[in-house]
Symmetry: C2
Subunit: 164 residues, 2 copies
DNA sequence: AAGGAATATTTCACTGGTGAAATATTACGG
DNA sequence: CCGTAATATTTCACCAGTGAAATATTCCTT
């Protein structure tokens, strides 16, 4: 991969090689992680969005409305309805109407949903730890700091440049 | 997101919070980047795999065989045939038989393929640079170093743990 | 020249994710 | 109360990607 980027860099000298390498690395790592996560969740009948939603509910004792959850799962309203359907159908979450505003639906995690989270989360911990096994404590802090910056930069790129 | 992870961490104390945050960040950044790239390529009739293959050919004056390309594009042989079909159909690459071993097919980028690369690559550079705009030169080197380590760690996880 | 391995392709069948716009219900402001 | 806005859901239509196994061709060894 590095060789390829270097050769392209020779042919196209304006190419910002280091940044291109960084981007490839991020794509590679992100893609691999996503694949792992989805493969692990699949046997439980969940995909990544379902899982993120379930985790949001797990950490929300008060429950949450679909629109709130859209942010967490990075999904549109239509899909959030679908995710809600799936979770409810699987008995992992329950719907109820908000008392104050009856337009709102509140999703709450069920005991069964909590059980599932507590069952599927721990086996992931060794893998998660393994991904950073060779990094020192300082390395991890640095990595987190830099990744947050990149995340912010990307975000402002998207807002300021609708052409993408 | 951080708040959610912290709350989950309270409920499940064994959770390695920092590593979980790192993983989420990587998933987030990777997913966003992939989305950007694919959105940019779509109007040109390419998806990410097609593009990676095309770039591999661009940087291979000698051409490359499908099996070699499978590695670059992280695809199986079946899909590489499909990608080859697509690139050839679009006039971006050409197939020929290897002289030494007639079982092998060699794919070469065409002049039209080179033109496309030189046309679609440069507009990406500002965006790529923007993603790391707030990082110092040292930060970028550090980030690259750390990402490479993570990539390696993940790789060995996969090989050593077929359960995933 | 025969059998076994490598390469590419084809066949076949399968899967999942997405989103825009119309609809229904409720809230809110005047 | 009436109109406008907010929330959720439904409807409809759409699209992309994947992979295992059978096949075809060629190579290599004996």
């Amino acid at each position: 991969m590095d060789a390829g980027i270097a050769r392209v860099g020779e042919m196209i000298p304006e190419a910002p090689q280091q940044e291109v390498r960084l981007t490839r690395l991020l794509l590679l790592v992100g893609g691999t992680l996503l694949g792992e996560v989805e493969a692990y969740l699949k046997p439980h009948g969940l995909n990544d969005s379902d899982f993120r939603t379930l985790m949001a509910l797990y950490s929300s004792p008060e429950g949450a409305t679909p629109s709130e959850l859209c942010g967490f799962a990075q999904q549109g309203a239509t899909n959030m309805t679908r995710i809600g359907n799936a979770l409810v159908k699987a008995g992992l979450a329950a719907r109820s109407h908000s008392a104050e505003d009856r337009r709102r639906i509140v999703l709450n995690i069920t005991p069964s949903g909590k059980r599932l989270v507590r069952k599927i989360l721990p086996p992931l911990f060794p893998k998660v730890l393994g991904a950073y096994a060779s990094l020192s404590a300082g390395d991890k802090r640095t990595l987190e700091r830099l990744l947050r910056q990149v995340a912010l930069n990307i975000d402002s790129l998207q807002s300021s440049d609708p052409s993408s």
